[in-house]
Point group: C2
Chain length 387, copies 2
């Protein structure tokens, strides 16, 4: 039995979450919250539905016990096996109209022929939303993900434990890659190795494996390419996957010398990296309950801007993480929401000099009662390795 | 260089597709077609955008040369590297409102302050669609995926070549799994091996690996579980991934004896499988330009129903395939659309006896000028193996 299997969400938690979702529907003034496949559905039921054009939808009305799970007939056994909470399952056949079925459940939940307001999960496909809107003429549509954001943002202890396992697995992969051969290989080849190692270290599957070498390290979301890694350049490694359903996401920057002492980082890169390292540490140290998200962003940005690299830090400082790789809260200027105990997020400032090189350091951090609890422990310093 | 890299879509094709999309916008009466990340965007530009909450959007107006690609600032270098067609890129920063930016481009394309009609790609996230609708009050919203369906359904020769490479890679994985050890292992363990082998045989990544053993074989979309495979039962193996951006999807059914001759398939299973084999062959042989999609479904269903298994065939006969694992055309009762040369789809009838066992056979087939061109060549007969 794997660690992740031993560290899982107890069944009672799903029951509590589903009850809380009904209250959230009432708070949001929605006749029903409608969740398609994805993280919200996994959060509320444990069921990981296949992501296809066939509609799967959890309908949660304001009343206790009002929840119904709509699934395609051919997925009924999979839904029964996957649900960790007792919720009635309603099936539709291949030639039925699932939007009409959901609309009838919404009418039932609303106790009205023309429900006034629904809310749908953020990742529902547009095609499915448009069909629902046609099946419920005149209905106002809000966000069901927003309605339960307070629940999902504050992690249960079991969720933090899973995030920690995922972070530690990603830590090991970074260490393995930094210790291995890099010079002379393509980014894509290293990226493949990262994905294999993420799974070997316990991830359910790899989600992404950015390997950005040389000038590509100045592209924050670079897609691993056929570029061959050279001695005397940096590599930004930004990797992650899902472990026990929870996301890992770590960035470390490596400098490969090819074993030539003369091919170490130049003076400017050492300076830039020292600034970045300090910014990441300052932002992390600022974490505590009650501090606004944007203050964490500012803590990193102030350090970087103070050294003249403000224009080179072209993205926010971080994003929430949990069942999704990116979720609330976002650590970005303009977000005045206060951090709370149990929130989990990345802290990942970067400095990018277009056409030359760049660097980023990223940890997953949980807001503890007294301050930050970093889940990643892999060495954050610039790793100068032979590669 | 891999086969997939040598067999790729020529750059001129993207130019042609983008021009055709402008004509499609006019035909659909849409001021603009709006494509988020995903298959439509890959089809039109070659760019594989990262799937996150940050808006990436290709805006295609009715005029030639009207296309603009909206991307987050931090992904500008990735977009420039990924686009295979010359389209102006417009960026937005982390504190900008990308919906307002897209709305302004739509107004420009429409030459009007209040555009009347837009169309969005089917897989756009609901959260992004709702923000666009708020930024364009009163706008009517249709499907941009539907607007270019005629383009995507009819595969170019290069697309067929990539689908064939993907199918052949999946064929090899089925053969490898059928030849290996199965009895005594969990479904999840075999599923992991399938995913590794899909990549080893040339896929960019694995998308799914259904391993449904014993009674689980009666669940068409079973999620590989911790069930241990036993001697004397069937395994439905339904696997696929993306190779050169194009999807594979094959199903074969294996019976594992554990090396005991007495543990072969029982009489009913042999009969059921023979019926299924005949149904799959009849449906395949019916493929030709001009025949309605529903007639292919009926060809399989008539055979199965004729033998009394009609109620046990609980899904449609097939789905289109290309840049997505499921796309148009759907081979389902009620779909009167005629097949055309170059369409690619699965033919995958199944028979499921709940609580006991089930079976499915699936090939990817292209509609050729004179009849079916099956891309999968792996043996379709029931494979009775020691396992």
């Amino acid at each position: 039995m794997t660690l992740a299997a031993r560290t899982s969400i107890p069944a009672v938690r799903y029951q509590e979450r589903l009850e809380a979702a009904s209250l959230a529907a009432a708070d949001a003034g929605s006749d029903a919250l409608l969740f398609g496949f994805g993280a919200d559905l996994r959060y509320l039921t444990g069921y990981e539905a296949i992501e296809t054009e066939r509609l799967t939808m959890l309908v949660v009305g304001q009343g206790a016990g009002s929840a119904r799970l709509v699934v395609p007939l051919l997925e009924e056994p999979a839904a029964r096996a996957g649900c960790r909470v007792d919720v009635p399952i309603v099936t539709w056949g291949e030639t039925d109209d699932p939007s009409a079925l959901v609309a009838s459940l919404v009418r039932e939940a609303a106790g009205a022929d023309r429900p006034a307001r629904i809310a749908v999960s953020d990742r529902l496909w547009a095609s499915q939303l448009l069909r629902l809107q046609r099946a419920l003429p005149g209905v106002e549509t809000g966000s069901a993900t927003a309605a339960i954001r307070g629940l999902r943002m504050t992690k249960d202890p079991e969720e933090v434990a899973l995030l920690r396992l995922a972070a530690q697995a990603a830590d090991r992969v970074v260490d393995q890659i930094a210790a291995g051969r890099l010079v002379g290989r393509t980014e894509a080849d290293v990226s493949r190795e990262v994905r294999e190692r993420l799974v070997a270290e316990g991830h359910d599957h790899a989600e992404f494996a950015i390997v950005a070498s040389g000038p590509n390290s100045a592209s924050p979301h670079h897609d691993a390419s056929d570029r061959v890694i050279q001695a005397g350049e940096p590599i930004v490694l930004d990797i992650g996957g899902l472990l026990g359903g929870y996301a890992s996401d770590i960035t470390r920057t490596i400098w490969v010398t090819g074993g030539h002492p003369a091919k170490g980082p130049d003076e400017e890169y050492r300076h830039l990296f020292a600034v970045l390292h300090s910014a990441q540490a300052q932002a992390t140290q600022a974490v505590r309950p009650g501090i606004p998200c944007e203050a964490i962003d500012a803590a990193a940005r102030d350090v970087i801007a103070g050294e003249g690299y403000g224009e080179a830090f072209i993205h926010r400082t971080g994003h929430g993480i949990g069942l999704e790789g990116h979720e609330e809260p976002y650590l970005v200027s303009g977000n005045g929401e206060a951090l709370g105990e149990g929130m989990a997020f990345s802290i990942e400032p970067g400095i990018y000099l277009g056409g030359r090189y760049g660097a980023r350091i990223e940890d997953i951090v949980v807001c503890g009662p007294d301050g930050p609890i970093p889940l990643n422990e892999a060495e954050r310093d610039l790793r100068v390795v032979p590669g």
